[in-house]
């Protein structure tokens, strides 16, 4: 187990290097001139341009630029944005907010989704099953910005149950509850459906029948054996979703004005702020790798046949 984790962590290094280089190359290989548009409709003065290019080493060839970037990265310096704000500072402020939101959304989708999936899986074809089927179908088919805006308008502006937008740099649990519900709503549907399908399949399998005929209670046979086996695809999905949520939810963050990672990356891409894009995406790559590792370790817990030793 220990050697497996070490091996996985070592494998991350080339992945991170490769990914950052790809992103770096893509960001700086965009057509057009990075200084253009910085001074509005008029061309920037030569001096302004020179100062800008020097600051970001834009006159070096790409590999040299990247080399300088990685050396700084190893020192923990993610560079500065074009507004001269250290990217690391921005991430320090934003990652906790996004993480809090992501945890809340994941918790909501896991609890509600798994519960709904189990209940409908055991009572296949009943009223509840059809109800969940229809409601998840509705959730899946409505775009998130509609859900977000409608929830904000009715629950926030009209009834005042929730704050309309997030107003503090360090939002409270309550401020993030509505956005988390909105974010989780889509995934709840997927989790519930995945759970139900897998459970139905496993309940028909031989080992459950054997367990029941050996005299295990239904609860034990279903809960301990069938449920654990059915959770594997669900955990995979939740892990992937968690990684995606940590990358920020651009639309939801925009609607509720949440100072998170998603909106930051989105804006950085639009204003061609290379350092911000590369810095934050590098961070996301690392997050994804770690989440992946955690998911793989969870498999081992759920199904002893999958061993990492």
């Amino acid at each position: 187990m220990g050697t497996y984790i070490v091996r996985r962590i070592l494998q991350m290094i080339p992945v991170i290097l490769g990914a950052t280089f790809l992103i770096f190359a893509m960001v700086f290989a965009l057509p057009g001139d990075p200084v253009a548009g910085k001074c509005g409709e008029r061309p920037c003065s030569a001096a302004y341009r020179a100062a800008f290019i020097e600051k970001y080493n834009l006159d070096d060839p790409l590999p040299v630029q990247y080399g300088k970037y990685v050396i700084n990265l190893a020192k923990g310096d993610l560079g500065t944005t074009s507004s001269d704000i250290p990217v690391a500072d921005q991430l320090k402020l934003r990652v906790p907010v996004t993480a809090k939101l992501a945890f809340m959304a994941i918790l909501i989708e896991a609890v509600i989704g798994i519960l709904a999936g189990v209940v409908t899986g055991i009572r296949k074809g009943g009223f509840l099953d059809n109800l969940v089927l229809v409601s998840t179908l509705v959730l899946i088919s409505i775009p998130i910005f509609v859900i977000g805006n409608v929830a904000q308008l009715y629950l926030g502006v009209k009834f005042g149950l929730f704050p309309v937008t997030v107003t503090s740099a360090n939002p409270s649990f309550y401020e993030l509850l509505l956005p988390a519900l909105v974010l989780g709503s889509l995934s709840v549907a997927y989790v519930a459906r995945l759970m139900r399908t897998n459970l139905v399949e496993n309940l028909r399998s031989d080992y459950v029948r054997t367990a029941i005929s050996k005299g295990l209670t239904k609860r034990r046979a279903y809960g301990l054996h069938a449920l654990r086996n059915s959770l594997i695809p669900v955990v995979t999905f939740i892990g992937f979703d968690f990684g995606a949520l940590l990358g920020g939810a651009v639309v939801t963050e925009g609607i509720f004005n949440i100072p998170g990672v998603g909106g930051y990356i989105f804006r950085a891409i639009r204003v061609r702020d290379g350092a911000s894009v590369v810095g934050s995406v590098t961070f996301l790559v690392i997050v994804y790798l770690i989440v992946n590792l955690l998911v793989d370790l969870l498999y081992g817990l759920l199904d002893p046949r999958i061993s990492h030793d």
Partner: protein
């Protein structure tokens, strides 16, 4: 220039074009504001956006930083919130007899926020710093009229013009002399009749000595001279200003504290205003503009005003695209555009059809300078095109930057042209603003493309010289007309204001004959506020006038 960078800002937002995000009832007066009065003191929150650069006045060319800079820096003159007329602020007087040698006398006892007095050298040093090219200040070009500007520029070629022999010869403008603590003189290279009007632009703000010892720290926490001082800039979240106790000028505010809350979407700011979580938003989202929805959402809590912004469509230089060389073809295209319908259907009446190249809010504006060429008349347009021998290319193109809300109106404009002239017209999106501007400045873009201008200072000259003078920095169509240039020079030399304006108007009239760019519409700004505040006024720049805002 600030307005264009508004277009940059808009590229970073999903909202409607910033060039006046407003909603019109269609009435041209449109300037309502809540009754003045209210009490003094208290705190307000205002929608803000992210300043793109450190907050140095001579390096801030976009609205997000500009709104803050305006509140914390005093200049020699202040523009009246209602009329945009310049009024002396830090200046006791600005005198000239020949429009070339100006004597500026300062009011005594005005202070910076660090307690030091504002003296003549603070202006001289600040302007020298802005003009000195190696400092890379984006508004440095405002110093161009001052004598000696050329010696502060780098002349080298290649990537770094300031290296080696290209180094700037001097770091001091010869035309700026501090006579004593409260007097300095400005000598310009050529005659500039509207220099005193220009001096209200933020690039001309004085800077305290503390700036020069550490410009970087200053950019994070500027020490200004205005009625409000900056307490904190929480990057990407909020900017907090509070009343400066030692402010002795005439343009102080009523509230004690102003917090700019940074929003990424105008929709969420708007919803916060409805819910009274935010006091003022200077941008109404498109969704609330449709059918004047905002007026029922915010009854008696909204205002609208025309601002010094114009949207134009510029023709590529003739050597880039000869198909549009004949002015008749350009005039025909202009007459083929149904501005009224486009404004109604796409902008919900938040624009005003342009009748010339100069915004109505500025000094020297004259209506109907474009005459019949800016009036929709498909029959005449077609006749004019035939007179010119028809359109030689295979289709007319209108390019725009696709990262902002320009698709709808450019396509509508093209449809209007197509229907009137019977020539195919295509609106072409360019991936983003940076690429779009690169293609234009490198003179690679053919056909027509969208251009916008927001005034730097409220003068007719600002809508003509920087855009249409031969070789001017924003002359994207390479327009060159000796007669036009001469009229501008004569106007700048005229010591009589009315005469100067008359000459500028004559120059503008020439644009109707040559049609280097098609005037489309003027901008409007719409604001909404919570029921806690009163006295919200919109300036001609589309900003909030903080001197009149108060809590009820």
């Amino acid at each position: 220039m600030r307005g264009t960078a508004r277009t940059v800002a808009v590229a970073a937002m999903s909202a409607v074009a910033l060039l006046a995000a407003g909603c019109g009832s269609g009435d041209s007066s449109g300037d309502q504001s809540s009754a003045a009065g209210g009490k003094t003191g208290g705190e307000i929150t205002v929608r803000g956006c992210n300043p793109q650069n450190p907050l140095v006045p001579s390096n801030t060319t976009e609205t997000c930083g500009g709104n803050v800079i305006d509140a914390i820096f005093s200049k020699l003159v202040h523009y009246n919130a209602e009329t945009a007329k310049p009024e002396n602020d830090l200046a006791e007087s600005i005198d000239t007899t020949d429009n070339q040698n100006f004597t500026v006398k300062l009011k005594q006892g005005r202070k910076f926020h660090d307690g030091t007095e504002i003296k003549a050298k603070n202006f001289v040093d600040a302007w020298n710093y802005a003009a000195y090219a190696p400092n890379g200040q984006s508004s440095g070009y405002f110093m161009e009229p001052i004598e000696g500007y050329g010696d502060l520029q780098c002349t080298g070629a290649g990537d770094d013009p300031c290296a080696g022999d290209g180094k700037a010869k001097s770091d001091k403008l010869t035309g700026l002399v501090a006579v004593d603590d409260y007097t300095f003189t400005i000598k310009t290279t050529e005659k500039v009749s509207n220099l005193p009007v220009r001096l209200g632009y933020s690039a001309f703000a004085p800077l305290p000595d503390a700036f020069f010892s550490d410009p970087k720290a200053f950019g994070d926490k500027p020490i200004g001279s205005g009625p409000y001082k900056l307490d904190a800039w929480n990057k990407e979240q909020s900017i907090v200003l509070s009343k400066f106790a030692d402010y002795t000028g005439d343009f102080g505010g009523k509230v004690d504290k102003i917090t700019f809350k940074i929003y990424t979407e105008s929709d969420s700011a708007y919803n916060d205003v409805i819910g009274n979580n935010l006091d003022i938003t200077d941008e109404i989202p498109t969704s609330a503009l449709i059918d004047d929805k905002y007026k029922s959402d915010l009854p008696d809590r909204n205002a609208q005003k025309e601002t010094g912004v114009i949207q134009t469509v510029t023709f590529a230089p003739t050597k880039v695209d000869p198909n549009y060389a004949d002015p008749k073809i350009r005039q025909a295209i202009s007459m083929a555009i149904d501005r009224d319908t486009i404004i109604k259907q796409i902008f919900n009446n938040t624009r005003v059809p342009a009748t010339g190249w100069v915004s109505p809010v500025v000094d020297g504006y004259k209506a109907d300078q474009c005459g019949e060429y800016c009036t929709y008349d498909p029959a005449k347009a077609k006749a004019l095109l035939q007179e010119a021998g028809g359109f030689k290319g295979d289709k007319i193109t209108l390019s725009y930057n696709a990262d902002a809300a320009h698709k709808d109106w450019t396509e509508a404009t093209c449809n209007s042209i197509k229907q009137a002239l019977g020539v195919d017209c295509v609106a072409t999106g360019v991936v983003d603003f940076a690429t779009f501007r690169t293609e234009i400045t490198e003179r690679k873009m053919k056909g027509m493309f969208r251009t916008g201008w927001q005034m730097d200072y409220p003068s007719i000259e600002n809508f003509l010289a920087p855009i249409f003078k031969t070789g001017a920095s924003s002359n994207d169509g390479d327009y060159s007309n000796p007669e036009f240039d001469k009229l501008l020079t004569d106007a700048a030399a005229s010591t009589d204001e009315a005469e100067a304006n008359g000459l500028y108007q004559q120059a503008e009239a020439l644009l109707a004959q040559d049609m280097p760019a098609i005037p489309m519409w003027y901008g409007k700004t719409t604001m909404g506020w919570s029921d806690k505040v009163t006295g919200v006024k919109i300036t001609a720049f589309g900003t909030i006038d903080f001197s009149s805002v108060a809590l009820k």
